[in-house]
């Protein structure tokens, strides 16, 4: 059961977005990695749609 694996493993977080969440977790001594995220296709809907097709989504 994947949720149980989570509860019994060390929590390791990937944070996409607000860095304050990363800082809070680090303050409490948890492992976090921040993703330097940027909007796909610079936010261009048409292109994102085309990309989704190509990525088979």
């Amino acid at each position: 059961m994947k949720t149980l694996d989570l509860f019994t493993s060390e929590l390791k977080v990937i944070n996409v977005g607000l860095t304050s969440f990363k800082e809070s977790l680090e303050q409490e001594g948890f492992k976090v990695i921040q993703v330097d995220w940027r909007p796909p296709a610079g936010g261009d809907e048409e292109v994102m749609e085309a990309l989704r097709k190509l990525m088979g989504k």
């Binding site: 940027r38 796909p40 610079g42 190509l54």
Partner: protein
């Protein structure tokens, strides 16, 4: 639907298993495919005379005077505008040229052979820094140098290269990366290795000591001697990866000072273009500013396309000021490129990443998905003909061209 990952793996395999070798030299008109007496090759995607930027126009003028087709600037301009001169991108002739990238019929070119795939590529000899044709200069001294290169330098080098029975470009580049080059903005290591290899052969094959001295000094005096060779090497390595059904790998990035263009393996020879920009955060030589700079120009971005240049900047701490930072920043720049590339080239390594292979094979999908643009570690020309290089720096490829490619791709395949 085609298996793009498989296609890309194949494209990368061809790129990294290339065996580029400098086999000799020849006159463009004799060796370059499709070259004509009234044809001038230029860098980047196709461009007409009226849309050409200053440096490229200057280069054209210089070439026409050099070819004896015109005697003055004005004559040259009229001729160029008359339609009697055919302009064609280097890339359409298995050739590449730095900056303006002008190749005229009687110019000597290096011949690189990729034996593994039986294809060749061509590039002119590097003229050095300052007032040079590739920067659009056409003053008498420029023409004179070109003449000397044709009449003295070319035969001397050609003899030496053939005496050596060719030169393995891959191992020179591999070693140069360990000597602090990234092979685009810094070619000092590679040029030294080239010098080391060619010098004895020149001495052996040339009788006149004055010629020997001048030729050796010329090679030694120009750290960018090897640039044209590394570009031709990249070109020869990339061409076999073209036209692979379903591959989203970029096989060419090139700029003509007006447009920035890319070509993608799975999309044949179609160019996807957008306006070329002036490098925003470049390092300008004393006395020059952004206002003097010409928009991004030259085929030299073939280096990044092949996983070198900016992609390998982590190997070149000596020029990190171009990245506006520390060696660590340069490493992070290189690290970020692994996120948009298909794989690594184990023959070309970044020592400071524990000899990890350079990030190689740009995947259009990854660029668009991650919104992370390939960056090019490039030189910058003055916007006016003939002034020469005014700086160097990092410039991002425009997102526009990758978006266009994705749209075209989904039209063709999805």
């Amino acid at each position: 639907m085609v298996d793009m990952d498989k296609a890309n793996k194949e494209a990368l395999r061809r790129l990294v298993s290339a065996t580029p070798k400098l086999v000799g030299m020849g006159k463009a008109i004799d060796v370059v495919p499709g070259m004509k007496k009234n044809m001038l090759l230029h860098s980047g995607p196709p461009v007409t005379w009226d849309r050409m930027c200053g440096p490229m126009k200057g280069g054209v003028i210089a070439a026409l005077i050099y070819e004896g087709m015109a005697h003055t600037k004005e004559e040259a301009e009229t001729l160029a505008a008359s339609g009697q001169i055919e302009f064609s991108p280097c890339h359409h002739h298995q050739a590449v040229g730095p900056m303006a990238g002008i190749v005229s019929p009687s110019m000597p070119v290096y011949i690189i052979e990729n034996a593994a795939f039986g294809n060749k590529s061509y590039a002119t000899m590097n003229e050095g820094l300052g007032k040079v044709l590739r920067m659009g200069a056409y003053s008498p001294d420029v023409i004179e140098r070109l003449k000397w290169m044709e009449e003295v330098l070319y035969p001397t080098l050609d003899r030496a290269i053939r005496f050596l029975d060719g030169m393995d470009m891959k191992s020179i580049i591999a070693q140069a990366l360990h000597m602090g080059d990234e092979l685009h903005n810094r070619n000092r290591g590679a040029t030294s290795l080239f010098y080391r290899a060619i010098a004895p052969a020149i001495v052996r094959t040339t009788s006149d000591p004055l010629v020997i001295e001048k030729v050796l000094r010329f090679i030694d005096g120009n750290d960018h001697t090897f640039l044209n060779l590394s570009m031709a090497t990249a070109k020869a390595s990339l061409d076999p990866a073209r036209n692979i059904e379903g591959s989203t790998m970029v096989v060419c990035m090139a700029r003509n000072g007006t447009d920035f263009g890319i070509q993608v393996s799975g999309l044949g020879d179609e160019w996807f273009t957008a306006p070329a920009e002036v490098p925003p955060n470049a390092l300008y030589f004393a006395g020059f500013t952004k206002d003097d700079a010409n928009p991004d120009i030259g085929d030299s971005s073939i280096m990044e396309t092949a996983g070198l240049g900016g992609f390998a900047i982590g190997a070149a701490p000596a020029i990190v000021q171009f990245t506006g930072g520390t060696p660590k920043d340069a490493l992070n720049k290189t690290l970020s490129m692994y996120e948009i590339t298909i794989g690594e080239n184990t023959a070309y390594q970044v020592p400071y990443l524990n000899f990890r292979g350079t990030p190689t094979g740009i995947d259009v999908r990854l660029v668009v998905e991650k919104g992370l643009l390939p960056f090019i570690d490039t030189g910058i020309a003055h916007k006016n003909p003939g002034v020469g290089q005014v700086g160097a720096g990092l410039v991002d490829a425009p997102m526009e061209v990758f978006k266009k490619a994705i749209i075209a791709f989904s039209k063709k395949y999805a």
